[in-house]
């Protein structure tokens, strides 16, 4: 499983997109635009700049396991995003070098910071 990073975003390649994500892509539900994440403080965006990539968010308040046996322990918190494309994916950000992902399916994870009450995601 290849992994890539741009700032606080981590892209983990997955072997098989869960069926429920495919359904959402096919029905255009939960599709997001080109901005993967926008900095809370700076307003800087991690943005997909070429055509063909689709970003989908699991916004249900539950954990999902992949339906693939090999990855079934990979639990996903609410808000997890998936990225898929049949071509390479270019992601740009004003402060980071452009990240080029190969074609395929990815889970997008956000770098976390410790909070005594709960883990929280890194603020950009």
């Amino acid at each position: 499983m290849r992994t890539y990073r741009q700032g606080e975003l981590i892209f983990l390649e997955i072997e098989k997109m869960p069926n429920w994500v495919k359904d959402k892509i096919l029905t255009n539900k939960k599709q997001l635009g080109k901005v993967i994440r926008e900095g809370e403080i700076t307003g800087h965006k991690h943005e997909i700049t070429n055509q063909g990539a689709v970003l989908v968010e699991n916004s249900d308040n539950s954990f999902y396991n992949y339906d693939d046996e090999k990855q079934k322990d990979f639990k996903l918190p609410a808000g997890t995003m998936f990225l898929t494309s049949k071509n390479t994916i270019k992601i740009e950000h004003p402060e980071h070098k452009t990240l080029t992902l190969p074609k395929g399916d990815f889970v997008v994870r956000i770098q976390r910071e410790y909070d005594e009450d709960r883990d929280r995601r890194v603020r950009d």
């Binding site: 890539y4 700032g7 994870r109 976390r112 410790y114 005594e116």
Partner: protein, 367 residues
């Protein structure tokens, strides 16, 4: 379309919310796993339902009439409606009236019940003027008025009508708004109850006296008071639901003092205000581990631990921070990591979502 129900027995509360379409007559089928429910609607009211497990009927409810239950094809329960008991299935739509006192005036409370649940509450003063009207699911700001027509309260946000209307059938005692208001007024007993009026993320409220002056106002986020408030005519300040002095609210606090704050949420909020980098720089923490190749440092800083709520609870007595350098920008920044981190790489992997005993992430490309 969804149907929500709560409670149990024949007196269960029932919301029948059919989304954009209201079903006036006929039936609605809901399947959940092996269970199927067929809800019967007549002239806009739900009159009952049949429940099936597989192909077998297991329950039949007709509101206001009876409940029947079957187990393995055998009738195991048949209860008819008796007035004055739990099984009294009230008519689907009715109004309950109570004579009450509201904001010091005699008034009548009207609870409009629909299918066993409260749908709308109205309080009218003697003489006919309305104090307020609150409908379930209403998203409009709620205005509550004195008898003279002047506004007593403005509540903006998703109001949890279950909190406002404390009881449904035997309404007694003070309306929750007044109860909460009194708690706020009496600062000794102030437990920050106002946020319980709301559910959802953002809300705001204003409470006026009879002369129209603001007595209490402020914003609520995540059920916590935030920002500047007015309480009993005086300005107060809140960070993450904790009342603080104006100086602290403005960030005029020494980094060392931040580490002495017991409340973890408040401390985190102030660290955010001052910046972790400044705290690390000015507080001279102890370096636990270094990664000279990448310029990382794992630093420990002592913090004031709060008292644990129970004997087995572990509370943090130190703060561990990973100082990292961004490969793109060459800027150093700090990330707080769990206090059990011992090595820079371990801490870094933790921030990338890798937990203990999981495989470390190795990147094809990083920027």
């Amino acid at each position: 379309m969804n149907i929500q129900t709560s409670g149990a027995t024949a007196g269960r509360n029932l919301y029948h919310w059919f989304g954009d379409k209201e079903k006036s007559n006929g039936s609605v089928e809901i399947k959940t796993g092996k269970t199927k429910e067929i809800w019967l609607v007549k002239q806009g009211d739900i009159v009952g339902y049949d429940e099936y497990t597989g192909k077998s009927k297991v329950k039949e409810v007709r509101y206001g009439q009876y409940i029947k239950e079957w187990k393995r094809g055998k009738l195991t329960r048949e209860d008819k409606v008796k007035s004055g008991t739990n099984l009294a299935l009230v008519p689907t739509y009715h109004i309950e009236k109570s004579e009450i006192e509201f904001l010091g005036e005699k008034a009548t409370l009207f609870n409009r019940m629909y299918g066993g649940s409260l749908r709308k509450q109205t309080i009218k003063y003697k003489g006919g003027k309305i104090a307020f009207e609150l409908s379930r699911y209403s998203k409009r700001p709620l205005e509550i008025k004195y008898k003279n027509g002047k506004i007593y309260a403005k509540l903006v946000g998703e109001i949890d009508e279950g909190e406002i209307i404390s009881k449904t059938y035997d309404w007694k005692g003070e309306n929750r708004i007044i109860e909460t208001h009194n708690q706020v007024e009496n600062t000794e007993k102030d437990k920050g109850e106002w946020q319980n009026i709301f559910r959802g993320q953002d809300a705001s409220l204003e409470i006026f006296d009879k002369e129209g002056k603001v007595r209490c106002s402020g914003k609520i986020q995540n059920r916590q008071r935030v920002g500047e408030w007015i309480e009993n005519y005086e300005k107060t300040y809140y960070l993450q639901g904790v009342k603080v002095s104006k100086n602290i609210f403005d960030g005029k606090i020494e980094p060392r003092e931040v580490l002495l704050i017991e409340n973890a949420q408040l401390r985190a909020s102030l660290i955010g205000k001052l910046g972790l980098e400044r705290i690390v720089k000015e507080c001279e923490g102890k370096v636990i581990d270094t990664d000279t190749e990448r310029g990382y440092e794992l630093i420990s800083l002592p913090i004031k631990a709060r008292k644990p709520n129970f004997t087995s609870e572990q509370v943090d007595k130190e703060m561990r921070v990973l100082k990292v350098k961004c490969p793109s920008t060459n800027v150093y920044y700090c990330l707080r990591v769990p206090p059990n981190m011992e090595k820079c790489e371990q801490a870094r992997q933790w921030t990338l979502g890798v937990n203990q005993r999981e495989k470390a992430l190795v990147f094809e490309q990083e920027s």
